[in-house]
């Protein structure tokens, strides 16, 4: 359960709208069920009361929408940012992707988001309602007379299990309590794979990437993927872009996708969250982050604005590629 209520956020947003500080509010909108929230723009207090919601399923990172919305909407936009979203926000800012003056950012605390798929795995199909309690969720289904209680910890999304920070790195106003940067175990999974033999690693990724349907959701949702024209949309690039053209294409796409955001990826986890095929795409991004941290020094994209990312930087005594690959990672 989240520590700030929908109502309190709604009221604050409505008053900022009312006094004219902001022209629009970027938030999450209620869906058909309790878990299918859609990012939405609200422009009136009534719209907020009717539709705005912040709950355990407000996973969507809203920062990328600022690119489009700040260009479309006259006046300031209020955006609600969870701690991890603020890193993406900052990163976009340092890349000059939107006008900071046009945004009013409210940081809100997050106690971790729930993964509906994990809930489904536990309670089965036919979820009709989900009630949030202190540390658990009460799930009502079509097939059980009594609601089933699942603990929040058990159904946390992957990225929240490895939360890197509860601290907001950018905001105009904070609602609720500020948290701390956490020491996460987010590289454990990467290390596990590194520890496998080359054959096993190959088999692991072959299996994962073979499920890819080339929907491009990972790219389209990624707050770091903000090119006006993506190389994968260029019909002359020779890349198949949407046809799963065999094992090679999928590898090419996912290596390049991760590579193009390396150094700018804040590890927000949107890629894995939106993947309809549940491919652990964040592991590719984390591998880059881990390598860069170990080779070029600790770096967290989005932590400060105007930092120089490792791949657009160098030092005279960087190790040679042969040493990097042999150095830390030869466990085969």
């Amino acid at each position: 359960m989240q520590t700030v209520t929908t109502k309190s956020l709604c009221e604050r947003a409505a008053s900022l709208l009312g006094e004219g500080t902001v022209a629009a509010v970027l938030g999450w909108k209620r869906g058909e069920f309790d878990y299918d929230l859609t990012p939405a723009v609200f422009t009136a207090a009534e719209e907020l009361t009717e539709g705005f919601i912040y709950n355990d399923f407000s996973g969507a990172n809203l920062s990328k929408y600022l690119l489009k919305k700040t260009r479309e909407i006259d006046g300031k936009i209020l955006v609600f940012l969870k701690p991890c979203d603020t890193y993406s926000f900052n990163q976009l800012l340092s890349e000059h992707r939107f006008d900071r003056e046009k945004v009013y950012a409210i940081g809100i605390p997050c106690s971790g988001m729930a993964d509906i798929q994990k809930i489904r795995k536990i309670v089965g199909e036919g979820i009709t309602a989900i009630e949030a309690c202190e540390n658990s969720l009460l799930v009502h289904t079509l097939y059980d007379d009594e609601p089933i209680s699942v603990s929040c910890a058990e159904v946390l999304t992957e990225r929240c299990l490895n939360c890197k920070s509860k601290k907001h790195v950018a905001y105009d106003e904070l609602i609720g309590d500020e948290g701390e940067v956490l020491t996460s175990n987010r590289f454990d999974e990467v290390e596990k794979i590194e520890a496998l033999s080359a054959d096993e690693r190959f088999a692991f990724w072959q299996n994962e990437l073979s499920r890819c349907i080339r929907c491009n959701a990972c790219r389209d949702a990624c707050p770091a993927c903000t090119c006006e024209k993506c190389v994968f949309d260029n019909p002359n690039s020779g890349v198949q872009s949407k046809a799963p053209g065999g094992e090679f294409e999928e590898k090419l796409f996912h290596i390049i996708r991760a590579y193009h955001v390396a150094g700018r990826c804040t590890d927000c986890g949107e890629c894995s969250r939106v993947c309809p095929q549940n491919i652990p795409l964040h592991l590719l991004n984390r591998k880059f982050i881990k390598d860069m941290n170990e080779t070029y020094g600790e770096y967290q994209a989005g932590e400060y604005d105007n930092q120089r990312a490792p791949l657009v930087n160098f030092s005279l005594d960087d190790p040679e590629p042969s040493d990097v690959v042999k150095g830390g990672f030869d466990r085969a």
């Binding site: 869906g31 990012p39 929907c215 949702a221 949309d233 939106v274 095929q277």
Partner: protein
């Protein structure tokens, strides 16, 4: 009506597989998917598969032909082969209907021989839904999940699988498994249907109606102010189209191999910006227009050309998979509100 006890079901799959490839839902890391049965394959009775059986008839990517070029000369090589017979088991009522919708596109003149060949060689064994999910709304489009069609209809009770052949091909199939089945009356199936229909009535989306939509409603819905709101957070990815059992738009592309050229086709999505892009412009420039196209096609344009049949079967996959949880149900509800005014 034929009955096969559940304890014999693996035997049934084995017998069928002996004479033709058999595809059925099995549990993958990501949920149930249609896979070819092999000894040891465990059939999944999950309410629905992640993707429909569309891939088996209209694969996401398939080679159409090949070319050899030499100087100014070209040779066209027809690489088609006759499909061998195959069976698909466990297709839900919605997905059976989705194939009828694809038929209307691919089997109208000029017929698409690639699709037609697979359709002619595939025998569909459908399966009634005992536990539909909250996302199901096939009833909206007049589909009865308790009475699935296909070459053979099947029902599952606690201890047995009941089968009924609807077509000649279906009869050939039931003949194949005659040793494992015995004739029986309809009582067990009727009871199961009754049970299923009761569940169907309690589904959260049971009241959703499509009456407001249909052919000749272009004028009414095209200019709706709702599209702006509905599409505002659409990412423009192709998830909804790729998991949709009725979406059928495709692209044709050439791939230069090291020895020649392969012309292949692959699924495309009207949600992609590149879909309608021409050398001199794009007739659907904004995501709003592209988003609108997808839903207008399903709810208005398709019915206009196809005797009022909608190009949606209520399988609920887009509800489950859209990264931003925008889907046809939300669209229908929002547009309906519009018509009330």
């Amino acid at each position: 009506m034929l009955k096969c006890t559940l304890s014999n079901i693996d035997k049934l799959f084995e017998i069928v597989s002996a004479s033709m490839p058999l595809y059925l839902p099995t549990e993958d890391k990501n949920g149930a998917v249609f896979k070819k049965w092999q000894p040891g394959t465990v059939w999944s009775n999950a309410s629905n598969t992640v993707k429909g059986p569309k891939d088996l008839f209209f694969p996401q990517s398939e080679d159409l032909m090949a070319f050899k070029t030499e100087g100014k000369k070209i040779e066209v090589i027809d690489t088609r082969t006759e499909t061998e017979d195959f069976a698909v088991f466990g297709v839900r009522a919605c997905d059976v209907k989705s194939l009828e919708i694809l038929d209307r596109v691919f089997l109208t003149e000029p017929r698409d021989s690639y699709y037609a060949s697979r359709r002619e060689h595939g025998v569909i064994i459908s399966l009634a839904c005992n536990r539909p999910t909250e996302n199901c709304f096939c009833g909206t489009f007049g589909i009865d999940a308790a009475e699935p069609m296909g070459d053979v209809s099947a029902w599952l009770t606690d201890d047995a699988l009941y089968l009924h052949a609807n077509t000649e091909r279906g009869q050939a199939f039931t003949k194949l498994i005659a040793d494992l089945t015995e004739a029986c009356d309809d009582s067990a199936v009727s009871a199961q249907k009754e049970k299923n229909r009761k569940v169907m009535k309690r589904l959260p989306l049971a009241d959703l109606e499509a009456n407001a939509f249909g052919g000749s409603k272009t004028e009414q819905f095209f200019h709706s102010p709702q599209w702006e709101k509905l599409s505002e957070s659409c990412l423009g990815c192709g998830t909804c189209t790729f998991v949709c059992p009725t979406c059928q738009c495709y692209d044709i592309r050439d791939f230069k191999t090291n020895n020649g050229v392969v012309r292949y086709r692959c699924w495309d999505s009207c949600m992609y910006s590149e879909f309608t892009k021409m050398a001199h412009g794009n007739n659907r420039n904004s995501q709003k227009e592209r988003f609108r196209q997808r839903f207008m096609h399903k709810l208005v344009y398709f019915p206009e050309n196809n005797d009022g049949i909608f190009s949606c079967v209520g399988c609920g996959r887009c509800l489950a998979k859209c990264p931003i949880s925008m889907n046809i149900v939300k669209v229908m509800k929002a547009l309906e509100v519009d018509t009330d005014d």
